[in-house]
């Protein structure tokens, strides 16, 4: 089984019994989470609650201490899994954008298309230009990342991930490093992706975005999912004291 030929029955992401320790410090204490195909799941919680670590376990940027992560039914924590191949089907967008500063915007997108997907230069550039047009940055193909605003950089980073036609997109606080006036442009793009049924897992502090766009919201506290459900129930009728306390601080 591979990610090129996904089984449609399996959920896009299925996390079971996931724990993660950094040395003596336990960050995740047994997470179960399911992300259905075409849905958007938002992970919310205070900083240090483990939500970014959970996200990073979904493409093995962090190696889980125990538990399993299934992508389209494939256990990516298995020993014989080609993790490079898996990652090429999972988009990741970082808080700090992490564009390659020594390359043009265009080359940021074509690099993996050519080196991982083995497309020709022309094919790769066609794909890249189409993705850049989608995020409204066709005018900046020859620029270096350092010449763009934070919001523009993050949109390039999203385009870079989308160019690989990922099965799942992971967002790690994509707007936290942006000036307030630049947040909307990035969230708009993510909204459009959700509307086009991209499967997304989003770690975010943007509660408005989570309420409006998410199909499912999971609240993490101290390495556990304390409460989860549709945004309406999580935000409007929290059952646990910890979620109530969290929401009273951020809303």
């Amino acid at each position: 089984m591979s990610l090129e030929t996904p089984t449609q029955q399996a959920p896009a992401v299925a996390v079971t019994g996931l724990t993660k320790k950094f040395g003596e410090h336990t960050v995740l204490r047994g997470i179960d989470l399911q992300v259905d195909r075409g849905k958007t799941v938002c992970l919310i919680g205070a900083s240090g609650s483990g939500k970014s670590t959970l996200l990073r376990c979904m493409n093995l940027l962090e190696q889980p201490t125990s538990g399993t992560v299934l992508l389209d039914g494939l256990d990516i924590t298995g020993r014989d899994v080609d993790i490079d191949a898996v990652r090429s089907h999972v988009g990741m967008v970082f808080q700090q954008f992490n564009l390659f500063p020594h390359m043009s915007v265009l080359r940021n997108l074509t690099l993996a298309l050519r080196k991982v997907r083995k497309l020709s230069k022309e094919q790769a550039e066609d794909v890249a230009l189409a993705r850049l047009a989608e995020v409204g940055l066709s005018a900046y193909v020859k620029h270096r990342p350092g010449q763009l605003s934070g919001g523009q950089q993050q949109r390039v980073a999203i385009a870079r991930s989308l160019a690989m036609e990922p099965r799942v997109m992971l967002f790690d606080e994509p707007t936290s490093a942006l000036d307030p006036e630049l947040v909307k442009g990035v969230l708009d793009i993510m909204r459009q992706l959700a509307a086009k049924d991209m499967t997304m897992v989003v770690v975010t502090h943007e509660m408005g975005f989570a309420r409006e766009v998410a199909d499912h919201v999971a609240f993490l506290d101290d390495g556990l999912i304390v409460e989860e459900g549709p945004p309406a129930s999580v935000f409007d009728s929290p059952r646990s004291d910890r979620l109530r306390a969290f929401l009273s601080q951020v809303l």
Binding site: N59, L61, D84, A85, R87, S88, H89, V90, G91, M92, F94, Q96, N98, L99, F100, P101, H102, L111, A112, K115, V116, K142, H143, R144, G146, Q147, A157, R160, S161, M164
Partner: protein
């Protein structure tokens, strides 16, 4: 003129002696020095880059031998390494390069400069933000692919000025080839100067060689610095096209250049 000064000038700056040694310095010595140092820089850079990738490895059994190599070759006087390689290998029956002294000297210099350069490259590689590796791996690039395409190019740019020191050192240390014995046609700048001082009993030939060394090392330094500035400004210069903040940036880099 005080006698001391006159003696000094006669010994090191005698016009007749200076003038008579320059032709052979420029005709044979310059090319031979450039040949040895260019090859030593080429191989030294290659060794340094390979070692650096080992030095940043997470696996101790890759790191440890590289670390030992660096400690040894950086810690030995370069003259000892030249002797061990250039005289030691043939004595041990390993005439890997025949009887020509040049390849042995190049090898010794490359081994030493590789050790120095590996530390420079390592610091450059480690100065690249961790997020760059994570982003590259997230796109499906292998560790080595990410290193080659994303991390190393950024790291090398940052340490270009430090590498210059190493290039200059290679040019100067190429003189150590004289220890291994040279045919007349193989003499480089220093050995020509040294032989001339023995013949004439006057040290002006050394001064002449020094001037030619400077004629190599100073332009070399400034070429690398220019390259460094150009890479750094690369973004800023292009910014001039479409951004209003460009003039101030151009002004800044112009001032740095002065």
């Amino acid at each position: 003129m005080p006698t001391g000064l006159r003696n000094f000038l006669h010994t090191f700056f005698d016009p007749g002696h200076l003038g008579s040694v320059f032709p052979s310095l420029l005709k044979d010595g310059l090319l031979n020095t450039l040949e040895i140092s260019a090859l030593a820089i080429l191989f030294g850079t290659t060794i340094g880059m390979l070692l650096a990738t080992l030095l940043v490895s997470r696996r101790w059994y890759l790191r440890a031998p590289a670390r030992a190599y660096v400690d040894v070759f950086r810690g030995l006087p370069i003259i000892v390494t030249v002797m061990m390689v250039g005289l030691g290998l043939p004595i041990a029956g390993l005439h890997i390069f025949g009887r020509n002294s040049y390849p042995y000297a190049v090898m010794a210099l490359a081994l030493v400069s590789g050790a120095y350069m590996s530390e420079i490259f390592r610091s450059g590689i480690q100065s690249v933000d961790r997020g760059q590796m994570e982003a590259a791996r997230s796109l499906g690039l292998s560790y080595l692919g990410a290193m080659r395409l994303v991390i190393v190019p950024q790291g090398v740019r940052r340490v270009l000025p430090a590498l210059t020191n190493q290039f200059v050192a290679m040019v100067k240390d190429s003189s150590l080839v004289y220890l291994l014995g040279l045919l007349a046609s193989q003499r480089e700048l220093f050995s020509i100067a040294k032989d001339t001082t023995f013949e004439t009993g006057n040290l002006s030939a050394l001064t002449a060689a020094g001037i030619v060394y400077l004629a190599i090392t100073i332009p070399l330094t400034h070429t690398v610095n220019w390259l460094d500035r150009r890479m750094r400004d690369g973004g800023a210069v292009r910014l001039a096209g479409g951004d209003t903040s460009a003039p101030s940036l151009q002004l800044l880099s112009a001032q740095e250049g002065r």
